[in-house]
């Protein structure tokens, strides 16, 4: 009896999960397919790039700086045991370009920009701004969602690139300036170890995927939230939780595909 109930519960939650995915996909399709309005669209995109990208820049840069410095410090203390501190550049660059840059950048992005997107759209829904737009004969999906989605997708790889650079410079500061690793060895080892296509490009691909997933989750949660203040709060939490899980899960998958065979 209990088993049957459990099975029913499982089936029901499975169905509702599939339903959610389906609704989210349809929603994305409706928002993005159709003739784009280049004249107005560009201005809106710039506006959203500002609120999604530029406003996330400070947290990205600061976190990157500290993560790079910690990597330099930890990497040095470990490598120096094997007398291999000249490989510090390689360690820092590879771990950043392949993993930390896209992943930590995406986690920060989800926390900063994703939650803000959900809250903003949820508030628009709660205060009936979306409904009133619809009643004016303007499709809120294309007017509100599409520019935010594209802005998220463009900002994420740009922010990840900046994250990588700042973190490498942070690692350089600690490793070379403070701990005395040789500058030449630092860069030369890095350059011989990091491959542009295999490492940098794959990292960029990762961050494009993450950017898509985060903004998709964020705008969908905003549109889908119950129109109450409690609903907005929950939707915002869900955005951060779902995107973080999606980032880490997808990261494993992408890493397995990209770096698995070598």
């Amino acid at each position: 009896m209990i088993l049957i109930k459990r099975m029913q519960l499982l089936g029901r939650s499975g169905l509702s999960f599939m339903g959610d995915i389906g609704r989210a996909s349809l929603f994305l399709y409706q928002a993005l397919v159709g003739k784009p309005d280049w004249v107005h669209g560009f201005g809106r995109l710039v506006q959203q790039l500002y609120s999604v990208g530029v406003l996330s820049l400070i947290i990205i840069v600061l976190s990157a700086l500290f993560i790079g410095m910690v990597l330099g410090l930890q990497g040095y203390t470990i490598l120096v045991k094997f007398g291999a501190e000249h490989a510090l550049g390689q360690l820092i660059a590879l771990s950043l370009v392949r993993e930390l840059g896209p992943v930590v950048g995406a986690l920060l992005f989800a926390g900063r920009a994703g939650s803000a997107l959900t809250a903003e759209i949820g508030l628009m829904k709660t205060t009936e701004q979306l409904s009133s737009m619809e009643m004016m004969g303007i499709d809120p999906l294309r007017r509100i969602i599409a520019p935010r989605f594209w802005a998220g997708q463009i900002s994420m790889p740009v922010l990840a690139l900046i994250f990588n650079c700042v973190a490498i410079l942070g690692g350089y500061t600690v490793g070379v300036e403070w701990l005395g690793v040789d500058t030449g060895a630092f860069w030369a080892n890095m350059q011989s170890a990091v491959d542009f296509y295999a490492d940098v490009m794959n990292g960029i691909i990762k961050s494009v995927v993450f950017g898509t997933v985060i903004t998709w989750i964020a705008v969908f949660q905003g549109i889908d939230c119950p129109p109450t203040s409690e609903g907005i709060g929950r939707a915002t939490t869900r955005t951060v939780v779902y995107s973080s899980l999606a980032i880490l899960g997808l990261d494993f998958f992408l890493t397995a595909v990209m770096f698995g065979e070598t």
Binding site: V46, Q47, L49, Y50, G53, V54, L57, A93, V97, S155, P157, V158, L159, L161, I162, N164, C165, I168, W187, M190, Q191, S192, V194, D195, F196, D199, V200, I204
Partner: protein, 168 residues
């Protein structure tokens, strides 16, 4: 006015992104080697076994890097490996025709590289497309082979000592 700051900051973000990409490409991954054709003249060398030699491995004379490996291919008839190298004429212009090429390992666990040992011919030099034949090359030293040889040698050596002890 407010729209203007938005535009400017977004522009700055994009420029920062492009600069970061450039830094990652040039300073971090050393992509500049990929973009431009490796400078210098090409010579090739035939090896029986190249071990773990990779494209972009360095080519050195007396420890000084004079070029890079640009291409590796298998000779279909002899089953030897042909390695193409680009040699920087600024570093070394006149390599004698009887120069010897060996694949060495940097340190105990490091990467393979090619070391050129110049010969004594003072009239003929390696030119674009010239070949260092298999007789003039040393293959990579494979660590496993070395160990098994060493063990085999020890066994036969101990057998010899046993025999000699028995003889006595």
């Amino acid at each position: 006015m407010k729209m203007r700051t938005v535009e400017i900051t977004v522009g700055a973000l994009m420029v920062a992104g492009i600069l970061s990409l450039l830094m990652l490409a040039l300073q971090v991954s050393g992509l500049s080697h990929f973009f431009r054709e490796e400078p210098g003249y090409r010579i090739k060398a035939e090896f029986a076994n190249i071990g773990a030699l990779k494209v972009r491995a360095k080519v050195s004379v007396a420890g000084v890097v004079v070029g890079r490996v640009v291409k590796i291919q298998l000779e279909p008839e002899t089953f030897n490996a042909t390695v193409w190298m680009a040699i920087d004429p600024m570093q070394v212009d006149k390599l004698p025709i009887d120069t010897r090429a060996s694949i060495l390992t940097a340190g105990l666990l490091g990467d393979n590289y090619i070391s050129l040992l110049p010969g004594f011919n003072e009239t003929e030099f390696l030119r674009e497309g010239n070949n260092i034949s298999i007789g003039n090359t040393d293959s990579a030293v494979i660590l496993e082979q070395l160990i098994s040889k060493f063990l085999a040698g020890q066994v036969s050596a101990s057998k010899n000592t046993n025999n000699s002890q028995r003889d006595q």
